[in-house]
């Protein structure tokens, strides 16, 4: 375990330093700018790997905490910390940023300097959000991250970029405002913005929220996060934002930004408002399941390839929300894993769609067809990624999906059964679109001479493929590091169960005789907690 040091601050602000350096450069030497951005983001990724040593396996609570007084009245502190969940989300962010830089290597030709500055600032905001343990600081980074993303869409996007950017900002802001109200309410009640302190106050019963108040607060936070996820029916900004965003924007948006929503639910909604979470769970789950099925069905019939991938995110993130609100530690683990896996798979899908766009300047599926012939390598990568996205075992998508469904089934078999339909539908939309894009004879003459993956593209895709495969086989590396953090969330949201479990394990060890009689109930109880 690392002591002292300011690793988290370094990780937050290193890209900002890089962005500053870029700003000082002359704007016309594109190659140099790109190289600097690449070096900065790669270095950031390498730095972030140190986190793996900083967060010991099995350690509960926040690690590598940093605390500094910032504003005295109201007492706003610079409080950072990391646990198993946020660590991997940060790793995902720092991994996807250099990939995004590389993906924008040749497709971004105007305002190159500004583009990479925005990309690095986005990284600052996202990493900051994941590390913040002070609600005000969290909110600050939350908003900070919004600006570069909106600009990435609005400046470097496609035809309807301004519409999409404005929609993105307004949607997100609506949620943010509600969250801000919630944050201020909590401050009024507890006198602090410090997340662990508020958490303690609530857990110890020093502040007892009336059910109605708790529900309102829950909703204030939840709406902000649900928009970000996006949870059905708050998802309509997503297809527009994705279709209009440049490739790097889409990768960051799908890969990382959506996870801020589900991360927020795990970090704030559940621990701070456990009762309200329980009461809302069934409605949230219904929306999540609708999202899974609806997202998949709508995705299936999209004529626009990028929109198709965007809607598939609605479906995949539905799984994550379901896993969180099933309140089962297996599904919670699965939810964390699915966030990471989705970041890689969908990130890779957007990269591939972007590569097709670079060649043909369209996302219309009808414009493609038979692309396997001119570009077999790209086709192979696309299939690989599609398979990971549809949850083929041994690739990353399966682990999360399986754990979510398995865990959810233990407590709500009906939810899991409905959600499992998504498994069928994901095969439908991915394989159908794959067939229309890559199989068959070439239908559009222009496509006959398209070049296959370039060396740069092959490096990007191979990296993604290796991570995909590794996450599919070596999932234990990640799950054993996230186990303690998800267990903490479980204990916070269900303190009663955790208590009962401890009591039971002390007094009445599970014997073989009662397994035949009541092993069903016991096993269900047991599953949740150990």
């Amino acid at each position: 375990m690392l002591h002292g040091g300011h690793l988290l601050s370094v990780l937050i602000f290193f890209p900002a330093v890089g962005a500053l350096a870029l700003m000082l450069l002359r704007g016309d030497d594109h190659k140099f700018i790109r190289s600097i951005a690449m070096i900065v983001s790669t270095a950031e990724f390498l730095f972030s790997l140190i986190l793996l040593r900083g967060v010991p396996v099995g350690a509960t609570g926040y690690q590598l905490e940093e605390f500094a007084k910032w504003i005295s009245a109201p007492p706003i502190n610079y409080h950072l910390g990391v646990d198993g969940i946020s660590m991997f989300l940060v790793l995902l962010t720092t991994f996807l940023t250099p990939i995004s830089v590389l993906a924008s290597w040749s497709s971004i030709q105007n305002r190159v300097k500004e583009f990479f500055v925005m990309l690095l600032l986005l990284e600052v905001g996202v990493v900051g959000v994941f590390f913040s343990l002070d609600l005000f600081l969290f909110f600050l980074f939350w908003e900070v991250m919004l600006i570069p993303m909106a600009l990435l869409i609005g400046i470097w996007g496609h035809e309807r970029r301004v519409y999409a950017a404005v929609k993105f900002v307004l949607y997100t802001m609506t949620g943010s405002i509600l969250m801000l109200v919630g944050i201020i309410w909590l401050y009024n009640a507890t006198g602090t913005f410090d997340l662990p302190a508020i958490q303690q106050t609530l857990a110890n019963g020093l502040l007892v929220l009336a059910p109605r108040t708790e529900m309102l607060l829950f909703l204030a936070f939840f709406l902000a996060f649900a928009i970000k996820v996006p949870l059905f029916p708050l998802h309509t900004w997503l297809p527009d934002a994705h279709v209009e965003a440049p490739t790097a924007g889409s990768v960051m948006l799908a890969g990382v930004l959506l996870k801020l929503g589900t991360y927020g639910m795990m970090r704030f909604c559940l621990p701070l408002f456990p009762e309200a979470s329980h009461r809302a769970a069934r409605w949230v789950a219904v929306l999540a399941i609708i999202g899974i099925i609806y997202g998949a069905l709508v995705s299936m019939v999209q004529p626009n390839l990028k929109k198709l991938v965007a809607y598939s995110s609605v479906s995949h993130l539905g799984f994550v929300v379901l896993g969180i609100f099933a309140f089962h530690n297996i599904s919670m683990q699965g939810a964390v894993y699915q966030m990471l896996a989705h970041g890689i798979s969908t990130g890779a899908l957007f990269l591939l769609v972007g590569m097709l766009y670079d060649r043909r300047h369209t996302f219309e599926i009808s414009e493609f067809g038979g692309l396997s012939t001119p570009m077999p390598k790209l086709a192979a990568f696309f299939l690989f990624v599609a398979l990971s996205s549809l949850g083929l075992p041994m690739l990353n998508g399966f682990v999360g999906e399986f754990l979510i469904l398995l865990g959810t089934y233990q407590r709500h078999w009906g939810w899991a059964s409905w959600a499992a339909l998504g498994v069928i539908l994901s095969a439908c939309y991915l394989l159908w679109s794959y067939q229309r894009v890559f199989f068959g004879e070439i239908t559009v003459e222009k496509n006959r001479t398209l070049p296959d993956a370039s060396a740069r593209e092959k490096w990007i895709l191979a990296t993604m493929a290796v991570v995909t495969l590794w996450m599919g086989i070596g999932s234990v590396f990640i799950t054993r590091r996230t186990a303690a953090a998800t267990q903490t969330v479980m204990d916070q949201v269900e303190p009663q169960r955790a208590y009962e479990a401890r009591a039971r394990s002390r007094t009445k060890p599970l014997t073989k005789t009662d397994s035949s009689q009541s092993s069903r109930t016991i096993s269900i109880e047991r599953l949740g907690i150990r």
Partner: protein
């Protein structure tokens, strides 16, 4: 070095084909076929040798069940899915069939695919299939089994769609994967349910725990029944049973070696394997067993009827496969798991042979698959003809051939249940008919192809040597069961007894009175042989052979003696004939009831109406509304001092009115009055 090196490192058996696949897939594009062959055949051949050695070591070690955990794959809470492999007698059969038959088919494919583009790609996929199939049969828990389960589905998808330029091939691949996914949906729920009930998905622990539970009664819809039906749903997808069989006939779009290996000998039997593997659960769930038996029997009959009229040589074989898989499920459904696996093995031999021989025929006459354009080939391609005849005799159940013993074992097992037995027998008749129809149409009569253009020729040696080996296996493959007819044991089922010990008891104790009367005369013969149960055995065998003979005679009469009669018959039974020819219109039904409505619903209701017009329309509506309000209110900002004064007065009055007239006792609006 450990005492049992291969057994201790059991993962080497699946890993070898995976290496072959990776090498060919990544590097093979630039290699000549010869080097691709070395990687592909070498890896599978080595895998076969390793499997043989592992089996030897397994028996050498004298264990009932060898099991080893290699590494933890997924863990969460108290859930653990490991890369754990196991070996028992059932695995032995499966592994040897998969690697052995698989290897032969690989060798065959080097000849068959020699002139096709994407040679390296083909073998990369084929080796990948071997990897997943071996994982499937070696897995020691349901989750790892599911890895193989989905993986073979993927390989099947890739290989069916191998000729991806053809839309029908790409369609068929996609259909196979999606239909399988429907089954997998059930399989996954089955796993979740088992985990919920028993807290583990590990075979050994799970079955041990399940064994402590009381068995359910017939008609009871308890835990075991639910779990088994869900697992069986997966099996109906993978093993092409009603109602999810529709993908298999279309899968014939793939190259013929693929049809032989994946869609006949190995992958499609995975469902049977799963049911046999879970036999403890199934035997505790008689209701589920009945469903399995009925579905199996119905499929066996249903598919056989479609096979009667198909003219594409591979499609006939495809429906035949569906039908034979039905037999295997029928056996499992009545608790004769040993017989089911026995038929799985013999079927792997003769059906692989049939497909390979069909491939040889297709190869010989330049790619033609329509039997109405063949004929008279028996003299031109003797080896192919000879081996195919052997396979036909085996599948029809000619005495002494492997299929005779395994099919007989199944029919004996179901004998007590008249309906199942009757339909089983009827399917045997149909099988014999359509197979001999295939032989007669293909090899007899006058050539119906253009002899000037097509010069039928025997296939290269790499193709017919596997044919000969498989033909030998198709003959001797069932002989382990033969001693039963002389009062000894069925050595094959005895061999599997350690696995199926408890459930198979019921099979051998058929009460005498279930023997049909027609066989009474054979009792005397049986008595002479000295054992009571043998009379029954001989009786059933005689009935089965007699039935098959009838099928043969009808085919002989219709296609050799009176070749016109077949067409006349088709004309006089026009509606029935067209229904069969169109496969009962099941594909059309599914398209009309499921596929098209779903696409329509998704496009018009969910996407265009709900998403774009409904939700997004509301969002944009709010935005426009806000803009409109802003626009309206903008006019109040006129810059005119007098109008501002009026607004101030109006505001003051409203405020005062609220304060004074607010009902006493009620809370005032927040913050308005302190």
């Amino acid at each position: 070095m450990p005492a049992h090196p291969i057994l201790e490192y059991l993962w080497i058996i699946p890993l070898l084909p995976l290496l072959g696949s990776a090498i060919n897939g990544l590097l093979g594009a630039k290699w000549p076929n010869r080097i691709v062959n070395i990687a592909a055949i070498g890896s599978t051949g080595l895998s076969f040798l390793c499997a043989l050695e592992a089996v030897r070591e397994f028996f050498d070690s004298g264990q009932v069940l060898f099991r080893k955990e290699f590494f933890a794959w997924i863990t969460a809470g108290n859930f653990r899915a490991g890369f754990d492999l196991q070996m028992d007698q059932l695995t032995v059969v499966m592994v040897l069939v998969v690697t052995g038959v698989g290897w032969l088919i690989h060798i065959y494919a080097t000849g068959y695919m020699a002139h096709e583009g994407g040679y390296y790609r083909f073998f990369s996929y084929l080796n990948l299939f071997m990897f997943f199939m071996l994982i499937l049969v070696l897995a020691a828990n349901y989750v790892l089994l599911f890895v193989g389960w989905e993986g073979v589905g993927l390989s099947s998808y890739l290989l069916i769609g191998f000729y991806f330029l053809k839309k029908s091939a790409a369609d068929a691949g996609k259909k196979a994967f999606i239909v399988n996914r429907i089954g997998d949906f059930g399989f996954m729920l089955g796993m979740f349910f088992l985990f919920r009930t028993f807290g583990t998905l590990d075979f050994q622990t799970l079955f041990a725990k399940a064994g402590l539970w009381p068995a359910e009664a017939m008609g009871q819809f308890g835990t075991f029944t639910i779990a088994c039906l869900l697992l069986f749903m997966g099996a109906t997808g993978k093993s092409a049973q009603l109602p999810l069989y529709v993908w298999l006939p279309d899968a014939m779009e793939g190259p013929t070696p693929v049809s032989a290996l994946i869609h006949a000998a190995t992958m499609v039997t995975a469902g049977v394997y799963v049911v046999a593997r879970s036999h403890i659960l199934f035997t505790y769930a008689p209701t589920a067993m009945l469903v399995v038996a009925i579905v199996g029997c119905a499929t066996a009959f249903f598919a056989a009827t479609i096979g009667l009229v198909q003219t594409d040589i591979k499609r006939v074989l495809a429906y035949s496969t569906v039908s034979q898989l039905g037999y295997m499920f029928l056996a499992c459904g009545v608790g004769a798991f040993g017989a089911g696996i026995f038929h799985l093995m013999t079927h792997a031999f003769f059906k692989a042979l049939l497909f390979l021989a069909a491939g040889s025929v297709i190869h010989a006459i330049g790619g033609e698959q329509d039997m109405t354009k063949m004929g008279g080939l028996s003299k031109k391609i003797r080896w192919t003809y000879g081996t195919m005849l052997v396979a036909t005799l085996a599948i029809a159940g000619a005495p002494g051939f492997s299929g005779f013993f395994s099919k007989d074992a199944i029919l004996v097992a179901v004998a007590g249940k008249y309906w199942l037995y009757g339909f089983g027998l009827l399917s045997a008749l149909l099988t014999s008919f359509y197979m001999f129809r295939l032989i007669f149409l293909t090899f007899f009569g006058k050539p119906r192809y253009d002899e000037h253009k097509v010069h039928a020729h025997e296939s290269p040696r790499s193709m017919f040597i596997p044919l000969v080996i498989l033909a030998l296996l198709s003959i001797v493959g069932g002989w382990l069961a033969a001693p039963e007819f002389w009062g000894h044991a069925n050595y094959f089922e005895d061999f599997l007894n350690p696995v199926f010990a408890s459930p198979t008891q019921s099979v051998k104790t058929i009460p005498v009175d279930t023997a049909p009367r027609v066989g009474k005369f054979l009792f005397a013969f049986g008595e002479a042989m000295g054992r009571a149960s043998m009379e029954i055995l001989w009786t059933y065998a005689a009935i089965a052979v007699g039935t098959a003979l009838i099928g043969f005679l009808i085919a002989y009469w219709l296609y050799i003696r009176q070749p016109r009669k077949a067409d006349d018959l088709a004309k006089s039974l026009r509606p029935a004939y067209t229904t069969l020819l169109n496969k009962y219109y099941v594909d059309e039904l599914y398209a009309a009831v499921v596929v098209r409505p779903l696409v329509w619903l998704s496009t018009n209701v969910l996407w265009k109406a709900a998403d774009v017009a409904g939700i997004d329309g509301t969002v944009n509506g709010i935005a426009h509304g806000a803009a409109a309000i802003g626009d309206g209110v903008r006019h109040s900002q006129s810059g005119n001092t007098r109008s501002y004064a009026v607004w101030v007065v109006v505001g003051a009055i409203v405020l005062l009115a609220i304060i004074f007239f607010w009902p006493s006792g009620a809370k005032t609006p927040v913050g308005l009055v302190r």
